[in-house]
Amino acid sequence: MTGKRIALLGLLLSALAGTSPSGKLSIEARVAPDRVAPGETATLTVEVGYRGLNLPEVGAPAIAGVQVERGGTAQNLSILNGSVTRTSTTVFRLTPRGEGVIPIPPLVIAVGNDRAQSSPLTLTVSNTAPRAKPPVPGTLPPGATPSGRPEIFVKAVADRSRAYWNQQVTYRLRLYSRVDVLGDVDWKPPSANGFWTESLGPPRQGRVRVNGVEYAVMEWPSALFPTRTGALTVGPARIRCRVARVIQPPDPWSMLAVPDIVPQDVQLDTEPLTITVDPLPANAPPGFGGAVGNFHLAFHVDGLSARAGEPVTARATIAGAGNVPSIRDPEIHARGASREYVVGTSTRLERTNDVLSGERERDMAFVADQPGTLEILPVRFVWFDPEARSYRWQSSEEVMVRVTPDSTGGAATAPLAAGGAAIAASRSTPGPMGTLTLDPPGSSVALFGSSALLLGAGLLAGRARRRRDRDPRWARQRALEPLLTRDLEAAESLAGTGEPAKAAALAEEALLKGAGLRYDVEIGGVARPERERALKARGAGEAEIAELESLFAALHAIAYAPPETRRADAKEAIAAGRRTLERYRKELLT
């Protein structure tokens, strides 16, 4: 066996054992349990060791068909005879999504050139696997806590399981913990259909002994008021928090093997509670407005005499413990008042000793415009006392207020306008009539309709114009126009003023351009044979070409003939040229 083969064999063996070739780096993975039922969770524990300071981190393995969640990491450092060794233990939760044998690939770590990988593992997911016991609400899953002495649990309690409609039920959500709770505790109140809820203050903390074990306890109190009768359910409340969990070091013989603290997120649900809600006894006294609890009524009038036009304010105060926010204010009425109005209402709540209490005030103002007596009628308040299981009521005395004439002896006058502006006088003539709705009148509907029609017509006209502009025959016909209106008219004018040579040259030029536009060919400055060929190629007939050439020849000759002989000829040739161009224009239009 050669040295190379020995080295290779050593490398293979060390890789299988999860140790790097140098022996400094090691990794070991194990899964427990290795056989689970669908939906259950297995734990993958990965231990990494390194003789040195650079301890590599282990990433979450990618396993097909498995949800991998990192649980936490504990680290340890030991120095022995000057040699530093670091180890870490990382926990992953594996939740398979389907059945079958799931291979867990080797986990690879590296420090510099040192590489180590764990052995491949398998996780069997089968319906035949023994199922773990479901976790008991309020406790951590088995294995995480010692039995009988849970480290952390929640409990919901109600001070009564039977209550009357609208009677307060005090609900307390408590979190018991023997481990340190890190940071804030997130709590979700229970679903309480059929109740309205009032918080009874911020969470409280304390310490209690449960089964001989001391726990730190947090409590969230709230008041529930049933608004329906029958068996009502207060759903589970949920608490999410982070606890400090102690993990024992993997190397108990290490000098510095102190336990590590790993944060762990915990979610706990309470059990639902059932409250039986009884209806209130029948035959409630008149004036009962739904108040349930223990109340008393106070009534106060701000004066027993007032001037006409001055308001007299009466205040009814209901105070006590019970469903203060939902009770109906007592009615306050008066006889002899010209006007009455609600000045204000207010509610004050207290939460002392976990009992919702407080008071409601209602202020009514009565104004008598005429002197005499203002009679404020007795105020009656009825409530149901759940402890006495009976209705109770309280009435105020009737109050008589003496109304004296005002200082002017007449009715109260309106105050002056703000800012000194005087109220404008009334009108004696009818004003404009109109409508108070904001809907469009018929005229504007007609305008919008006609504008829509016009817009459509404009769009159609624009479209037709654009199409015409794109037509080459139309463009040529338009180019022909100035030859007739400008060039030939100028030629005729020159011929009339004794300049036939110039006139003939100008007419010849216009005729050349016109023929070119008619047959869509450039013939200006081209020799006669080429011109004839070009015109023929563009569809001009032999007779047409001959007529054109004859005209060109005539105009050419006039341009170079003696002046005294060419004046009449020029006029005649120009007229012939005009006729030809007008014919071309007609042909282009058709």
Binding site: P415, S443, S444, A461
Partner: protein, 223 residues
């Protein structure tokens, strides 16, 4: 040309002959002013708002409406020291609609003419767009008025409470003369909206709709 256009606009702006049953701005104004002198702020604001809708440029209506509003603010503890009179540059709803329609029609006409004169294209398009946008704005305003009509609190103090099935809270109080919008109705209750938000339910009898102001007389009221 400009004279013809001006005449055309004037003809369009002229409010069409109102039917005999159409409310009279002067009658509404007189009722509102009487209520204002009595110190009855709710009916005063409601009647003057209705009068202002018909005749928004009338100085006396604008003045008294501003006084009524400032008194409402004063009573609510506002520190307003001067009366802000609404602008005279205002159009009634039919006038606004007619202006918008006229602008749209003129723009469309210019667009038709632009088929032969290219220079009119941008002008016509702009005028039409202004008219159309103005019209859309008016349409949205009219739709809001139909869905959530304007109303004025006429009760001296109106309690706005949650719906009976909602969690009870302290009532929201509105004073006479406060302008709100109404929502759905349920029995004697109507939903109250302020600034686009629903604040609760109140008795219908404590409110007057502005578009129904002519129905109410001096003897109408709320306690």
């Amino acid at each position: 040309m400009s004279r013809i256009a001006a005449l055309f606009l004037l003809a369009l702006l002229a409010t069409p002959a109102a039917a005999k049953t159409a409310p009279d701005a002067a009658a509404l104004y007189n009722r509102g002013s009487d209520a204002l002198r009595r110190g009855d702020l709710g009916p005063a604001v409601a009647q003057l708002l209705a009068a202002h809708r018909i005749d928004p440029r009338a100085r006396d209506i604008r003045t008294n409406l501003a006084i009524a509003r400032s008194r409402v603010e004063e009573r609510e503890g506002g520190d307003q020291t001067s009366t802000r009179i609404p602008s005279a540059l205002a159009l009634s709803a039919p006038e606004s609609w007619n202006v918008a329609g006229a602008l749209a029609a003129m723009g469309a006409l210019l667009l038709v003419l632009a088929a032969s004169r290219r220079g009119l294209l941008i002008l016509g398009g702009s005028v039409f767009a202004v008219g159309a946008l103005f019209g859309i704005g008016l349409l949205l305003r009219a739709r809001e008025e139909v869905l959530h009509p304007s109303a004025v609190v006429v009760a001296p103090m109106l309690e706005v409470l949650p719906a009976p099935e909602e969690r009870p809270v302290s009532p929201y109080l509105l004073g006479a003369g406060e302008e709100v919008r109404l929502g759905a109705t349920r029995g004697d209750l109507v939903q109250i909206r302020v600034g686009g938000n629903t604040i609760g339910w109140a008795r219908r009898s404590g409110l007057w709709r502005v578009d129904e102001a002519p129905r109410y007389t001096a003897s109408s009221g709320s306690k």
